[in-house]
């Protein structure tokens, strides 16, 4: 028994463990995800993933299959339904099959690991995702990443860098990735695996060859630790955030890889100054943040940027929007400043 209390005050934002795991597994292009539970768990998540990807200008039908548990399966146990579904899915010859559990399946105690262990020919990987055990959306993401790391094969180092745990549902997922790639390029580094964003099972096999892992944000530290233990790969705990984030990021990455960062940092300082110069027209104006920054870090980042432009933060200032997650890198800051400019020039 886990006996983890569900944080009741977080019930609107902590999310569903299954959805978190699906945001990861559905981004393995040649794999199929089996959701072991009633059809509704799959339908609801399918709609959410489909609608979100449409919103992100990306048309995709997530490869999901439900075991479609009925009351009869609940009474007699759902292992037979899982077994049958797995046989059908494996016959389609996917690169891998991911099996995600649901609340009801863990309530009645189906032995999902046993059923999956009996299959051969295609990797069948279990991701524990019953949400009522106290997990959140992030728990699902982390569980999925750790489970999918099981696809990695022993590898010799290739000197490249993995991106770990991209937020596949966020609108700026590709822009943020591009920004981090830009910074890595400044240090003559290239990306090994986007773990996991639009990759194939085969690409994941080289996960252990990277010299460094860059985590999307610090909530993925347990995953970073797991990968460090398993492959000996060090990690950077998060993407660069805010106006100074890119410079610290370059220094950390260079430090971890034993590279001299000075040239890259100089270039980045120039870019930062150019960005601030580009927004000189709004410098010195009075602003207020709206909506109120959702977390202390978001508030701090917005404040730093405002200060760099000598904006006056007062409650009577013109409201400027602060995004739900802090802007990533100079590109993210630039995007946010464009929105501020629009708000200020109304």
């Amino acid at each position: 028994m886990t006996l983890r209390p569900s944080p009741s005050n977080l019930c609107r934002s902590a999310g569903c463990t299954l959805t978190g795991a699906l945001s990861v597994t559905t981004h393995v292009c040649d794999a199929i995800t089996v959701v072991h539970g009633p059809a509704g768990c799959t339908h609801h998540n399918f709609s959410l993933l489909h609608a979100t990807s449409l919103d992100n200008d990306h048309v995709s039908l997530p490869p999901l299959v439900s075991t479609g548990l009925s009351e009869t399966d609940v009474i007699f146990g759902g292992e037979g339904a899982l077994d049958r579904t797995l046989d059908q899915v494996i016959a389609r010859d996917p690169g891998a099959v991911f099996v995600l559990s649901t609340c009801i399946v863990d309530t009645i105690g189906d032995d999902v690991g046993m059923v999956c262990g009996s299959k051969a020919g295609v990797p069948v990987i279990v991701v524990p995702t019953a949400g009522f055990l106290g997990g959140s959306f992030q728990t699902g993401v982390n569980n999925a990443l750790v489970a999918l790391a099981g696809l990695a094969e022993p590898a010799t180092g290739n000197g490249r860098v993995n991106i770990i745990g991209e937020k596949n549902l966020e609108y700026e997922v590709d822009e943020n990735f591009a920004e981090v790639s830009r910074l890595l390029t400044l240090l003559d580094l290239s990306v090994n695996v986007r773990f996991v964003h639009d990759v194939t099972t085969r690409q994941i096999t080289s996960l252990g060859a990277a010299r460094l892992n860059v985590l999307r944000d610090p909530s993925l530290i347990p995953v970073g630790e797991y990968l460090r233990e398993r492959f000996g790969t060090p990690y950077i705990p998060g993407y660069p955030v805010g106006i100074s984030g890119t410079i610290t990021f370059l220094e950390s990455v260079a430090g971890a890889c034993g590279i001299d960062p000075r040239h890259a940092v100089e270039q980045e300082i120039t870019l930062r100054q150019e960005t601030l110069d580009d927004f000189a027209d709004i410098a010195g104006l009075g602003v207020s943040f709206f909506p109120h920054p959702p977390d202390p870090e978001g508030g701090r980042v917005a404040q730093d940027i405002a200060q760099a432009l000598r904006l006056d933060i007062t409650s009577s200032g013109r409201p400027v929007p602060v995004p739900m997650t802090p802007p990533i890198g100079i590109t993210g800051v630039r995007r946010m400043l464009h929105r501020w400019r629009r708000a200020l020039h109304v």
């Binding site: 009869t72 009474i75 007699f76 146990g77 759902g78 009645i108």
Partner: protein, 270 residues
């Protein structure tokens, strides 16, 4: 229509008592339905001449709930007593409690829950919501506890009192404790002990059933005592039980004991 449920520790004799009670009631002229609510499915065996009848859950598993008909699940046993076994999953998998709920829904749909008396013979412990189903609104309003004078048996009976107390607190609930049946293990002062237990949990001893070899002999002959040896003293005991159940009007909300009180009670009658 009278609906009664028998609860008590596993192996205490609920099925033997239920089957003999149903047999006696049917001979008294009542139209009786007995429903075994235990995946072990042996509640009605003595009414069916030793036959383990197909269970509701077996039928649902084999043909799907849509194709099951009343004739597949209701079997007529001794003297016209209608017999149903809920059944359930194989030991160790699935959810037996949900099986009981599904059985009730199906029987409801079939209109099977009719007659003068329905006897629900339920699993030893009310382990989850499913096994409390017979106590819920619309089903048995009279719960009988079957117990011996042994501490573990009284302990189980006391636990069931907690379930009745909880359920009876719900609005509109009419589930009540109707009495305690002592199925004796031939301990000294056993009747007094169980009568005192019944009194302390705010109920009464309905029937003392002495331990008698006739029960084993009847069972070996795949019959109830009522059928196997109607002239025996034991058959008279079961007929008395049937009469008292039909006359009983004392239905209470039980007051379960703490474990210390229960132990002290057992020591008092050692």
């Amino acid at each position: 229509m009278k609906q009664i449920a028998l609860y008590g520790k596993g192996g205490i004799g609920k099925s033997t008592t239920s089957a003999n009670l149903s047999a006696a009631l049917s001979l008294a002229g009542y139209n009786v339905l007995q429903i075994g609510c235990d995946p072990k499915r042996d509640s009605t065996r003595m009414l069916m001449q030793g036959r383990l009848i197909p269970t509701v859950m077996d039928q649902v598993r084999e043909r799907g709930a849509e194709s099951v008909s009343p004739a597949d699940v209701v079997y007529t046993g001794f003297n016209g007593v209608r017999c149903v076994e809920a059944g359930g999953p194989e030991p160790g998998v699935g959810c037996a409690g949900r099986g009981i709920i599904a059985t009730f829904q199906l029987l409801e749909k079939f209109g099977t829950l009719t007659g003068d008396v329905i006897v629900y013979d339920v699993l030893g412990d009310v382990v989850c919501g499913g096994f409390a189903m017979p106590m819920r609104e619309g089903y048995a309003q009279e719960v009988y506890l079957v117990t011996s004078g042994e501490l573990m048996s009284l302990y189980a009976a006391n636990n069931i009192c907690k379930a009745i107390q909880r359920l009876s607190a719900r609005p509109k609930s009419r589930c009540r404790l109707a009495g305690v049946i002592c199925n004796a293990k031939n301990q000294p002062k056993e009747e007094d002990l169980v009568a005192e237990f019944a009194h302390r949990v705010n109920s009464h001893l309905v029937q003392f059933i002495p331990r008698d070899r006739t029960v084993q002999l009847a069972e070996l002959n795949r019959k109830t005592v009522i059928e196997y040896d109607p002239a025996s003293a034991q058959a008279t005991v079961y007929r008395n039980l049937a009469a008292r159940v039909m006359e009983n009007t004392r239905f209470t909300i039980p007051t379960p004991l703490g474990i210390d009180d229960l132990e002290a009670l057992a020591i008092e009658f050692m």
